[in-house]
Symmetry: C2
């Protein structure tokens, strides 16, 4: 009997679904639109159909398959209640009891669990990735926002109400840039992909750098991939963007280390593809702020989850963690 888990990643526009084996390989996957109409019942129906189709298709190839459960990654996902709560980027209002609703469609499955996407990524790293065997680590995801997942003594930290690990909203620079959440100076406003764009334009403005490769992009179109490409060509503005982003991220990581004393910090997401451009200044920034007892002890590592499938794989890892209990 081959045991597999379903991973569901609910994003603002699409919901990705996959069947994942015990090694973190996606056997088959699909995606449906995350509705903008806010009709929850219809969405649950569509999600149920999509999951059942995927299960049918893997069983066609291998009839000897056991489905262990469904893991869901979603913005503002509350693990304790199995709910999505007031997610600003989803059309559903208020508190959505997703696990309860999905349970009705899959009464035969014991392990149904939900958390936010960064927590799911941390569990994915622990179950399938570079954190196998680690008991204390943190995961920072850099993308549209900055997310984080914290593992202490081998368990994800959910906190008193299920929302722990919002390190993207720690204060990096008091009274600094406006964050998407409405508060000033948060890490996310600096070290997310849009944060890097903001940094690029700050430098363009400061140096009036009309000859930079980044100077012919509009504020709307510039993205972190373009900044990486320009850095590869030696563009000074682009190189400084990575320097600053890494330094800022390192400062935040030092704070996290002082809280938790992790063995390693994993970085995940688009900007981490820039390799040393981002990892080197991040390491230097972190070391600068650390107490002597922590210096040269904490590894900063790239996530081993495959970029494209990571959200599905991370969500599916929740199931293995549940079954393990």
């Amino acid at each position: 009997m081959k045991k597999v888990a379903i991973g569901v990643d609910i994003g603002g526009t699409n919901t990705a679904i996959g069947v994942v084996d015990g090694e973190g390989n996606v056997m088959v996957k699909d995606s449906i639109p995350t509705p903008s109409h806010g009709n929850l019942d219809r969405y649950i129906e569509e999600l149920t159909v999509a999951i059942k189709e995927l299960i049918k298709s893997v069983k066609l190839v291998n009839s000897d398959i056991e489905i262990l459960g469904i893991g869901i990654g979603a913005p503002n996902g509350n693990y304790y209640n199995g709910t999505i709560e007031y997610a600003p980027n989803l059309s559903f209002q208020g508190v959505v009891p997703l696990v309860e609703l999905l349970k009705k469609s899959f009464p035969e499955l014991d392990a149904l669990a939900l958390t936010n996407d960064a927590n799911a990524a941390a569990i994915g790293e622990m179950i399938y990735g570079g954190a196998k065997g680690m008991k204390n680590f943190v995961m920072f995801t850099l993308g549209t926002g900055v997310g984080s997942g914290i593992v202490v003594n081998g368990d994800l930290v959910y906190g008193a109400d299920g929302f722990a690990g919002e390190c993207g909203h720690t204060v990096l620079i008091p009274e600094g840039r406006m964050c998407g959440c409405g508060t000033k100076g948060h890490l996310e406003a600096y070290c997310s992909a849009p944060g890097m764009k903001r940094t690029a334009f700050e430098i363009l403005v400061r140096d009036n750098a009309v000859n930079s490769l980044l100077a012919d992009k509009s504020y709307k179109e510039l993205d972190s991939k373009m900044i990486f490409d320009a850095a590869e060509k030696g563009d000074k503005v682009a190189l400084e963007v990575f320097e600053k982003t890494g330094h800022w991220l390192g400062q935040a990581l030092a704070d996290t280390v002082h809280h938790l004393s992790p063995e390693a910090v994993f970085l995940f997401g688009g900007p981490t593809a820039a390799g040393d451009y981002i990892f080197k200044p991040t390491k230097a920034g972190m070391e600068k702020y650390l107490l002597p007892i922590f210096k040269d002890k904490i590894q900063i590592l790239p996530s081993k989850l495959k970029q494209g499938d990571a959200a599905i794989v991370g969500a599916s890892a929740l199931v293995w963690k549940e079954v393990d209990k």
Copy 2:
């Protein structure tokens, strides 16, 4: 059989020792000098004698007493190894295997454990104080420095190497005041008792406030109690010191909440005796920086440990926690 625990608090100048009952009452206590000569063997001898004397004296009053173990709070205390490591304020060099050495004097005791003083205070709060029944909370101790202890799922967080919970060394203001650890901008440089003194002089200078009650104290003599007394008399500089200290502490607490989603934050130490002067701006500062999902949820509470005995009581709580395992 009445069960009791020994608490030992190792400070820079004195080592306080007490026998503590299950309700956190100190039945009898003593203190010996923490040596400046660095002679570890002699210190262990003296400590052993003092502990044995105390045990003898409680057994004289009540022969029906069982000693469960010895809990030790010490700067740079490493719970995992039972060691004190490179403590800047103690005369012992390098790594001191205190638990191992003390075990030789008390082979009959199973529970010997050591951690730093702020962690001990957090465990004390959980076993005897206001955090009874709480599974997720943090403790911040304000004194010569700013210490912290973190509890997740009912257990103290020690992290990968036993040094978690150094929130006093998170970055509050990048490139700000020099911290005692040699790095700039750490919380401890602002919200410790000496940090409040620094703030007072900053305000005196900024406003050239020669008429402030604080203006006739030297930099060396001004302390947080004097600032409190002046605030009670309506002194504007003193009142602003509390306003700023609270705001800064609140900013740091928000960062901690975003990491850990605790149920409550406990504050302990001299400056907290100022009550609303410090608690009100701390609460306001924290709320200002919190994500909507955390707003108006997190209690900021004064520690219920008695100021004078807290270090002994906290250290003794380690024993109950060990026995509980």
